[in-house]
Amino acid sequence: MERGGWALIFWQIRARKWIMILAIVSGICWMSAAVSVPLLVQGAIDRGILGHHQGALVKWTMAILAVGLAQGAFVGLRRYLAFLVSYKVEADLRNRLFGHLQRLHFAFHDRTQTGQLMSRAASDLTQIQNFVVLIPLTLANILILVSVVSVLFIENWFLAILALMVLPLIPILARRFSGRVFPASLSLQRELGHLAEIVEETLSGIRVIKGFGTENLQDAKLRGSSQKVYQSALEAGRIRAFFTPLLTFLPIIGLVLVVYAGGHEVLNGTILLGQLTAFLLYVNLLVAPLQLPAWVIGQGQRAVASAQRVMELLRTDSMIVDPPNPQRLPRESAGEIEFSGVTFFYDRELARNGGGGHQESSKPVLDNFNLRVEAGSSIALVGPTGCGKSTVARLISRFYDVASGTITIDGLDITQVALKDLRSSVGIVFEDTFLFSDTVRANIAFADPRAPLDLVISAASQAGIDEFIRSLDDGYDTVIGERGFSLSGGQRQRLALARAILSNPRILILDDATSAVDPSKEQEILRAMSQVMEGRTTIIIAHRPSTIALAEQVAFMDKGRVLAQGTHQQLLEDVAQYRDLLISRVETK
């Protein structure tokens, strides 16, 4: 289980191995400089000061200075390279993950929350980055540890034992510390998450809260939650307050023992004063390398857990892929669509995760569904909510594969066509229009980013939004979305329509594409739509009679089947259920 995580981190680092190697080499150089300083101080004191040798003192002093400069240079280099490799690894992984997710099938995205994927690509990758950046420093520190311990034993094994006696306790304590503080800070994060939920919910529901004047109830909720935050923050503080002083106290025991025993040895003349000073400096130098492994191990575990989660995503294969030998849709194809005996379930995927709401989940959404749309003609799919209208639209672009039956375009089974080819031939305007935080132009030219401006403008004017766009300060270069200009529901739908027009599809699907359009603007949009539909096979999903009337034919659906097909007038006259469905919305008395 863990191996996958380690392997992912390893291979990603391997792709950037030269930076990593350079970072480690700089770390080693830095370490060598840091370790030699106490020895040089020792030389200066023993040879220079105690030896009453002025020349030696100057020499040793200059040596310390030179080593200090080198130490500075290498600490900078190590830091730069360590971060460089870690950010590169993070970015590589994020690109890989994003590209992978973009190509995963709809059903995967249906059952996976965007928030979850976001946290994979954001916090999980940050955990990995935080670990990778530690690698050069950790290796350097291990070397410091080994070399300092050897130096001490070579110089004076008795003092070395005294100095190092308590130090093994440091990694043990540090390990316990990180083991206890991590869950505590995790639970603090959790409480902060709860608090954020309350805030988010209050703000999204602010109209309801203000409408009913229940601000004080929300306030009480927040107070309760912030009290919990306070308590768990205090708990984390308590753990820190227990371990941190202990960790600073332990090395002092080593220092004190060295001062005591070493002082007597200097008195006895066994060692020189400079040697004693070097010992004191070395004990100080060891503290950080001894504490670090605990954090590195903790961080490593978190990084591997994260890498494991990322790996799981990367290993999820798309269930909708190109056929081995894709056929091309004929260039001059007309766009005749045929569903024959199509049965489809959402829940064969969804059921595993309990998605799909509380509706019956084992029933097929489409049940032996048959429909033929002549090339260049238009049909409206009408029926109560949940009858499968939108599903029909989604199957044509092969966002899902059917359980049985076939869907053909111009006689070609869509599973035999390359996805890119298929999807460029079908233009969809979704019910919930999604626009990107980008310029109006880029949003319209989404299917063909290199489309010249006049094509964009002509698509916009066909969708009846050109005039509005021109009225904006920056015209087609106006940035919309989260950080830019906000559009009304109707404007969004018309932009989405323009986007579909620009892709110049032979098949156009309008899924409730006028639902948010202001009634006073409706006529204008309907005119635009009828113009766009000319020469294209069009499927319209709609509730409004005025929109339904745009289509030549109407297929009246219920429970995943076509109940009746004909013109709008024919169905109104012949089918009582159809009449009921539409009348209830026109005359609501």
């Binding site: 000061i49 310390i64 900078g76 950010y87 994020r94 709809f106 203000k210 004191l280 409706e522």
Partner: protein, 578 residues
Amino acid sequence: MTDSGRTRVLVPLSEYKGRLLVLLALVIGWSATLIVGPALVAYAIDQGIRKHHGGPIFIATAGYVASALVGASLFRLVIRKVTDTGERVLQGIRISIFQHILSMPLGFFDSERTGRLVSRMTTDMDALENLVQQGLVQLVSNAFLLTITLIVLAVMSPILFGLCLLTIPVLLTASIWFKRRSAVAYLSVRDAIGRTMTSLQEGLSGVRVVQAFASEDYVVRGFKGHNRAQVLANMRAVSISARYFPVIEASSVATTAGIVGLGGYLAHRHMIPLGTVVAFVLYMGNLFSPIQQTSQQFDLLQSAGAAFTKLKNLLSIEPPLVEVAKPTDLPRHGAVVFSDVSFGYSLDSPVLTDINLEIRPGEHVALVGPTGAGKSSIAKLIARFYDPLSGEVSFGGIDLRQASFESLRKTIVVVSQEAFVFDGTISSNIRMGNNDIPDDQVKRALEAVGGTQVILGITGGIHAVVSEGGATLSAGEKQIISLARVALVEPSVIILDEATSNLDPMTESIVEGAVSRLAQGRTLVTIAHRLSTAQRADRVIVVDHGQVVQVGSHDELVKIPGHYQDLNSAWLRGRDSA
């Protein structure tokens, strides 16, 4: 500052005065124990080793252990007190910011994006939280350690202290440079991360559109660009610290070299004791590691500072609506009267001008007119989400500005057809989280809107768990919850903001049934988008360009040429094409 005379400060220091004094004493005591060690080593060297006495060595070691013990226990107290005080301050900030946001009028939430307000309470508060949890103890203690060490050095040997001071210009210049450059770099890192995250989030929530248009390559290319920019921004920030840290580290070693050199020379001349030189070398750690640590925590400090400023700015926005000192309760019944009301969201762009209007008790009116005409502003004024710029809006003869908030909210309720569902159960949603209301009353409220059947059909009934946004509920179920909330309050005036988008026919008939039950015997003001709604109303009020242009029943108004007739024919065209 405000009517209530309450000034809003983020951190009322006077409340924490006692705690801060205790903390100060603890920190000073603790830093003092840290500098005892090297001084004792100097004592052991000069009095013991150099004079060949064993006694001072023993005294020094014992003293060192004792001071370390005292230091460790003081350090423990420092950490606890700093955390406790810091967390209390944060809790205070959280509550006052949240209350402040809640006291803002609705318009504030139109202009401030929800996301931005959420991030005040989350990202910004987290920045402060990180500071308290990770850096505050070190920042506070390092400042004291640095100061005390400098004082001790000055006392021990003014000459060697003078040598240490030589590095100060270097350190100061480097630190100022670092602070300035990294502040800028830090901002652009935040920015770059923000862009990558937006691109990531959009790529994920818009994945269906991306695939529908076969634009995967295009979107991935765009994302890679943002990602590369993020690495670049990060590396720019790192390269600043990669130039700064060497200066600190090299200065530290260079100062050690200087002390050994100069100190050695002076000791040789017997001008200072050798122990002092050794103590100085040992003190270098006390001097340079605080500087280095502080600069490593600079990010923490920087983002906490930025967050603090943003929170302070938010708190300094005055809530325009406050309750008067001696509010009057609104009567149970009464007419809504607008007298010469003018209103605008800012002074220079009026939304409504000179509105005069009376809505009788129990009357049902529909507000119609084009988008932006001022329909919803009229509705918002009735609920006193805003105050008029001039004129008066009253209910039952009482100016709304004089009304108590509580009676106002019980008398006049606004309900939107964009039904919002909170996390919780259906019952807690109807009660709006007020646990004092018993289930019986919730059931009666459901009964009152004819929703009992609809809700009982859900597994779990009124205790069914629902999530924010109500993904598991149908549109009709959400509407029933939303309307049952109104039934529970039993207001005299209901203001209904009709959904612009179409509900499916079945849902619509459920909702209309519920509304008409609910509105019986109450004043109903509907912001209408549909002909059928206008037809049902007792009176239609046509609003255009901020003025009431026509008032009358549907049947009257369709006969007179004017706005309503035009609107009606537009509606009819939509219907006739059926």
